[in-house]
Symmetry: C2
Subunit: 406 residues, 2 copies
């Protein structure tokens, strides 16, 4: 029995030893904790620290003003709170308010050095940044869509397709709805595009898209569908560190992002999906949407392929930025009025536009809507609080998906 105990301990120790290679590990304190009254407690163990603060988008926003090119602009920075040191060098902060159900990100600052929460393994990567994640789901609230429930789950796959445009294989994330693998049913397809800093992972991690799909389908509020998350940086094989370039630092200054190459190449993605999945390969059963740069891509892919998509969703679309004028594939962005006329003459089921009231792109989106209004073209519009943030994009996806393929 003694030998058994030693060996059992040794196994645990052995694994812990492996974890200790990590060091960045379990401090033995719980953080974050959602308390019964809805407040949230954060803890960080640092006996030698002088000051520990917390920065998170659930705290009251700081409105920062700055000038750029002689023009005054504002930027809403996440709020900051101070933790207080308690017994054992455990620093603690409890929000003085119940945190509204939503998905948030936060980081600690320990004596000026940014640190993610070592007691929370729920981490998001956004471009080259890591943050800790706080998810406050609540039944009946929208954020409940972002949580994982015991409902039938779709399959989430990382799939590579040969891109003739790029000249190499590129990675897609593909969601097939629960039941797909074991049936002969054909499904409609939604293509979902990310912003300029994202990749084929962004909508699944920060966007909670597969949870939203699982939950909406399980509730009967959305049709079962295949969802394809592309990588809109056509010069990239795949997300950082998932491609053959190794440690090349992720950057937003990627070539070939908003100059027409990706838009031109898009039919090859549709062709790959239609030939590798049981899709309903026709316009009526095809939708596309995207956020920021992906909204810009969505508009031009739609207009240049008026027979491809019956539903198009522009989420905080990065239109009117002028990048069209310096594009390698200018033809993609030319004759917008004529392309709009052709597109609407074919009576698409829906053009959907969503944007935040304080989004820096609202002016260019208003101009675009004015153009549609002037021509009498129909579209669906949603305006929400806040700016150019993931909270809004999760909301837009949750609103857009139930309207599809009805």
């Amino acid at each position: 029995m003694k030998r058994i105990l030693i060996l059992l301990s040794a196994i645990l120790l052995g694994i812990t030893a492996s974890a200790q290679q990590a060091l960045y590990s379990a401090q033995g304190v719980e953080s974050p904790v959602i308390n019964p009254d809805g407040t949230v407690t954060f803890r960080y163990q640092a006996p030698k620290a002088v000051k520990v603060t917390l920065s998170g988008d659930f705290l009251p926003v700081q409105h920062l003003e700055f000038e750029m090119n002689g023009q005054k602009m504002t930027y809403d920075a996440p709020g900051v709170a101070e933790l207080r040191e308690g017994p054992g060098g455990v620093w603690e902060y409890t929000t003085p308010f119940a945190v509204a159900p939503e998905m948030y990100t936060y980081t600690f600052s320990v004596d000026g050095n940014p640190v993610i929460d070592p007691n929370n393994v729920f981490v998001n990567r956004d471009i080259a940044s890591l943050t800790s994640v706080l998810l406050v789901p609540q039944a009946g609230e929208r954020s409940d869509l972002y949580a994982i429930h015991r409902v039938p789950h779709g399959t989430v796959s990382k799939v590579w397709y040969p891109s003739a445009t790029a000249g190499f294989d590129r990675r897609l994330t593909v969601y097939t709805p629960a039941g797909y693998e074991n049936s002969k049913t054909r499904y409609p397809v939604l293509y979902v595009l990310h912003g300029i800093g994202g990749d084929e992972d962004a909508w699944v991690t920060q966007g909670r898209a597969t949870q939203i799909l699982d939950n909406l389908i399980a509730r009967g509020e959305a049709k079962p569908m295949i969802v394809v998350f592309t990588n809109g940086n056509i010069s990239q094989e795949a997300a950082p560190l998932e491609n053959s370039t190794g440690y090349t630092r992720p950057t937003m200054a990627l070539p070939q992002t908003m100059e027409g190459t990706f838009e031109t190449s898009f039919p090859e993605v549709v062709k790959f999906i239609d030939s590798h999945y049981r899709t309903i390969a026709r316009k009526q059963s095809r939708a596309i949407c995207g956020l920021s740069m992906g909204g810009f891509h969505t508009l031009y892919i739609t207009l240049n392929n008026p027979d491809l998509f019956n539903y198009s969703g522009m989420f905080s679309a990065a239109i009117g930025t002028g990048s069209e004028e310096t594009a390698a594939h200018k033809e993609i962005y030319e004759n917008v009025d004529g392309k709009l006329a052709t597109y609407f003459s074919k009576k698409p089921a829906m053009l959907w536009i969503g944007i935040g009231r304080t989004d820096f792109l609202i002016e260019s989106n208003n101009e675009f809507r004015a153009k549609l209004d002037a021509a009498g073209y129909p579209y669906t519009y949603m305006e929400t609080d806040g700016g150019h943030i993931w909270r809004n994009w999760r909301i837009y996806l949750s609103e857009f998906v139930p309207l599809l393929f009805k």
Copy 2:
């Protein structure tokens, strides 16, 4: 044009703003950097810090001795190095030696607080620990198998199967080889099991299993095969934060890990895979292997189902720990001699055993091999340097896979 510039800047800023919610972001310094002479430079920007150190398993190991239950044991801790502060508060350390090609983990300690490298988005989760990852691939060396190359890539899917044993759906990771989706070919299947602290993600992240498979298959050194990574903690739906329990802290003290329930349930996984994938559903085309607890599972799943697997691989198997004696499903662990006799009478293609010379489990593995030797049962054996670590498990998988289905 001015407006264009403003808006373009604003887009970049907008995205950066979103990244700044993160804060834990790009410090603008490069780390890690693999230098042309093979040394590696690490950097961390912390102008206010007093001391910054680095702990990593590429540094000379520290041999620590300790007593447990009156018995002296040793533990090999990763080495530690000090960074020096340079201009701009950028701390730096360059290894005084070329770092051997391999995959490593490391963390910084900033004034005593553990921090992962904010300039390296390559992060691994091990149970509840996060570490930064350093991959030094080199053509002709084994670590080249762990890198992503421009070769045909298999698809990696997160798939849920209904577990009658558990009473809920559980998640698997499934690798289908390049070409699977677009053919009618049937493939052999390898089942790969993790250790006590892992889950269905462990072999793909820390084990680099899908890179190993892609590369071995592309070189013609392994047969194309389907590979299934199970979650061996039968009380869990899925990896931490991928299941419906939300923030429940990952722990190694999970119930139902080494007491027979998972082993008993295994045929339901095989049945699911055979009914949802184009497998060659027979013993000759089925293999299983696992590390630590997964090696223990592998042994007993194999012995209790002597007609299921033609190839079995025990990597640093956690056998002889005594957990068999307190098991809920004692029958799984009883009559080992009789089960071995039956198993070997059916002439399996291969029983493969691998372990590190300083693994704390080498004694119990030696005892098991002595039993096989005494009975004249054939097996393949590999002994490597080092202990109970991922480096060895990547090596064992790379050695085991080319031997299968020949």
